[in-house]
Every structure is written in C-alpha cells, then in structure tokens.
Amino acid sequence: MIRENIRMAWLTVISHKMRSFLTILGIVIGTASIITLMTVITGVTDSINEEVATFGADRMTVQIEDGMKNGVSSAELERLEAIEGVESISPTTTQSVDVSFSNQTAMKTVLGKSDAYFTDSTVADGRSITPLDVTSRTQVALIGDTLAKNAFPTTSPLGETMTIGGARYTIIGTLAPSSEFSMSTDDAVVIPVTTALHQFHQNTIASFDLYTEAGQSESVNEEVTRQLTTAFNGRDAFTVTSFEDALASIDQINALLSMLLIGIASISLFVGGIGIMNMMLVSVTERTSEIGLRKALGATPGKIRQQFLFESVLLSVLGGVVGVLFGAILALGLTMVMGVPFTLAATTVGLALGLSVVIGVIFGYIPARKASNLQPIEALRNA
C-alpha cells in the first residue's frame, strides 16, 4: 500500500512537471536558505574559534584607569603573577612619540612589552625581546609590518638605528602582520617595557595581559579582581576582560543571528507550505471523480487521506532535497569567497529535510481531509 501510494504520488507529480516545480519552489528557497545560512554561520564561528585558539583563549586583559594612581607597580604585578593558575603576565605601556629613521620622522605608537608578549608567530624577522633586554633595559626595538615596509622599502631594517623620543635604538626585528582579532601593531614600535618606563619617567603599568593555565581563567579572574580592588581601595578603577567572555559573547551573537536568519528562512518555508496546500486543494478539486471512483472501488476515507498526504509530502521532500543541493552549492561558494571552512553538518541537512516532511504533512492535511470527506456519489457525478 505504501509503495502504491508513493508510485501514485510520483505519477501525479511528474505528470504536472511545471506545476510541481513551481509548487516546490517556495520549499526549495526556504531549505536552501537554511542550509546556506547555517553552513556560513558555522564556518564563520569555526574560523573565529580557530583564530582565538591560536591566539590563546586562556588570556585576559586588565586595563587600569585611575585618577589617583596611574597603574600598578612592579611589586603589585609580581604579586598578581604569583596567583595560582597564572602562567605569565605581559605588561604594556603605550606612548605616542616622534620616531625617526634615517630619512623620516613621524609620530608613532610606541609599546613597551616584556618577553612574555612574544610567541612563535609574533616576530616576522629578527629576534624578540629577551628577559635580558627587560632586566638590563637595552635600547632595542621591533617595528610593525607596515612601518617596516614604509621606512625600509628596499633594504632590511635589521641592525639599523632609529631614534625614539630622541634616544637611539637598534632595530632587532620586525613584527608579523596583526591578526584581525587583536589591536593592530602594524604601524607601531615595540621596545622593552623597562626601557619604556625609564625613558618616559613612569613607574606604573596601566595595561597588561594575563595568561592563565587552561581552565583556570574563572578563578584567576576572581583573584585578580579581589587583589586589584584592594590595591585601588575599592575604587572602580580597572576592567578585566577575558577572552572566554569575548568568545561567549561571539557565541551569543551567533546564536541570535542564527535564530533570526532561521526565522526568516522559516517564513519562506511557511509560504512554500501554503503553496503546496494551494496546489493540493486544486488537485483535490480536479480529481474529484478519481476520488469518487477510488471510493467506489473500495478506498476508505483513510486510504484517500493517505494518498493525498503522500503526495504533499513527496512534493515538499522533493523541494527539500533540491533545496539542500542548491543551499550546499551556494554555501560552498560563499564560504570559499569568505575564506571560512565549509562544513555541511548532517544535523543541518537532517533538520532541513525533517522540516520539509513536517511542512508536507501540516499543509497537506487540510487538502487530504477534504479529499477523504468527499462523498463517492458526489465525486462520481463529476465524471
């Protein structure tokens, strides 16, 4: 009986090719949008996560803005570094000063950093700042990618001399281009943090990054907040931003965006469903005599309902399958253009196909019931 139903439904669908195609168009568009949106969103999320993973999710940034005390002292920093779960602290000082190379002078951002700032991928060429540079306040500098290309278009900057705020520095390296998820250092100069403090007559650090051991970020966050609250006598003078927070908010935005887009796609699926219902109602009217004949020959109302439900489900599933194919192709193209990974999740495909079956049943039910309620004598009279 089920095989017969599928066969009959298929016969009806292919005998009205154009009409069936137009009917399923709404479902095709709805399903294709769901697949495309889900795949692209997944791709973007994956790529952000990947980026953050290489960057260090176990990192938090502390910013201090206090009118009375400009930052934390080295001693306070050492106490923070001693907190259980803290791997290292990378302090930052920031100044805007005149920087000159042999032929040009310009105002640039000069960042004071310690050796803790550097990872395998920070330096493009040359060497990084060493602990020795920090302890002995050497006058060495690394320059950003853009700055290096502008100041030394043809030669290597390594070993060259530059002046920062009048003091002479030796260029020991160039920085790799910044990733899009951190503050850009492309046009900046990095020097040892101790050198910077000394040269600019400062003794406190207003900003530092804190690296935690995996999974410790929450407890470290609490302890850092407690110690800083004490250090600033309870003043609201600092902010602690962890990357885990940032990740969570990215996830939240993604979830919201997905829901919104899925909502829009659902509207087109709904419209597609109405299209199917409309077409099925027409089909029931057109086939009144067929329904009457089938009833005369022994079809129960249930069998008639089944037959028409199979037809609407077949239509919507066809729409779903075509939509999944189109959506996958579209998503492949988009992710390639956007440079994010393409992963077509089985759950996404399952969801899209499942939805189309549900739509076929929901929107096919009223026409199918109408067909099954036709009296055989009324139906046959139309023959």
């Binding site: 004949l293 005369a296 020959l297 129960t300 004598i377 046959l380």
Partner: protein
Amino acid sequence: MSTLIDVQSLTKTYGSGDNVQTVLNEIDLEVKEGEFVAILGPSGSGKSTLMNILGCLDGYTSGRYRFGQKDVTGLSEAELSLFRNKQIGFIFQQFNLLPRLSARANVELPLIYQRLSKTDRLKRTSEMLARVGLEDKLDHFPNQLSGGQQQRVAIARALVTNPSLLLADEPTGALDQANGRQIIELFHELHAEGKTIIMITHDIDIAKEATRIVHVRDGRIEKEERVR
C-alpha cells in the same frame, strides 16, 4: 436460488419541511443470486439514485436494505468502502478509467485496497484482462484503447475482486452499436457463469437482454416483467 438483494419500503427524500422531494418512494425489490436484472426508466425516474443506494454509494431515508444476509444500514463509511470492494463490481457509462494508469494498473486498483501481494495482484489482473479478451493490451493506456476496449477494461476491473454483484450503469451508453453488442454478449457470458448482474438503462432494447425488467417511474416501481 437464495436472495442476494432484499429491499423493503426503501424511501429516499431530499430537503426538509415544505420542500421535501421524494426521489424513491417505498421501493420493494428482491434480486436472487445469478439473476440478470435490468432497471429501466427515463431520466429523472430515480433509477440512478436506486443504483447508488444498491451500490452502497448513497444512503437512504427510510426502509431496509439487506445484501446477502447483511443489513448494510448503519455501516460506517470505511466499512462501506470495504464492503463495496469485496461485494460489488461497478461498471460506468463513461468507463471511469484513470487516464495515467495502464489497463493492467487500472484493473489492479481494487486489489490495492486489499492486502494482496504484488504477485497475486498481477496474476489476477492478467487473468481478468484475458477473460475480457484484452490479453494483448495489458500495458496500453486508456487513450490508446477504443471505447469498447476501455469498457472491457472497466469490466475486468469490476470482476477482479470476484464480487457477488455486478452493477452496471448504462454500460453501452457511450458505445456504438457494434461495441455495445460485444459488451452485452460479455454480460450474457458472465450471467451464464452465474454472476448476478443489475443493469441500469433507459433503453428498452438493452433492457430486454436481461432476464427480468424492473420499470421505474417517478420514484416507484411501476411494474416488473420476466423477459425470458
């Protein structure tokens, strides 16, 4: 011969109050197994309504209808469907074949509503089409067949469930003389094999082919005559 159809005081009215229209008025009819009965009457006489009620396609207002030993009053629609499927083979004036199905698939239709294996269905379908002389037209579609051939497919479809009653509504009405004749000959053969046949017609010459003619006029049975 035992009684197959037993109708007593069957009345069918439409409308209500002052607008009551009586289509069938106190009909009494008995048909024995193996009979070939013609119900003859002009259009508007109520003969089509009578056929619909006999075929369990339509209900009635009052009276009693027994088919075999079974009172069909009060059966649900689903029960009536199954009853029609097993007991009654319909033959219509316009054949009522499904145009998108082959002759074989059309004949198979009533069997699909029974729990029969595909092999059994194919076997019986082919047998029935051979019985009506269309063994070489199994895969033809209705529009590839002549009117007479289409009606023979319809007869095969009516016979395929081996029903107790063949109910034919103007079976030759849409056919020319020669083809109509062939259909009547087929009815004679089926009658000779013991089939019970009720044929509705407005044509006295066709009605005379039966063994008994029931004249219907204005919703009543006017007279019954035995022809042969």
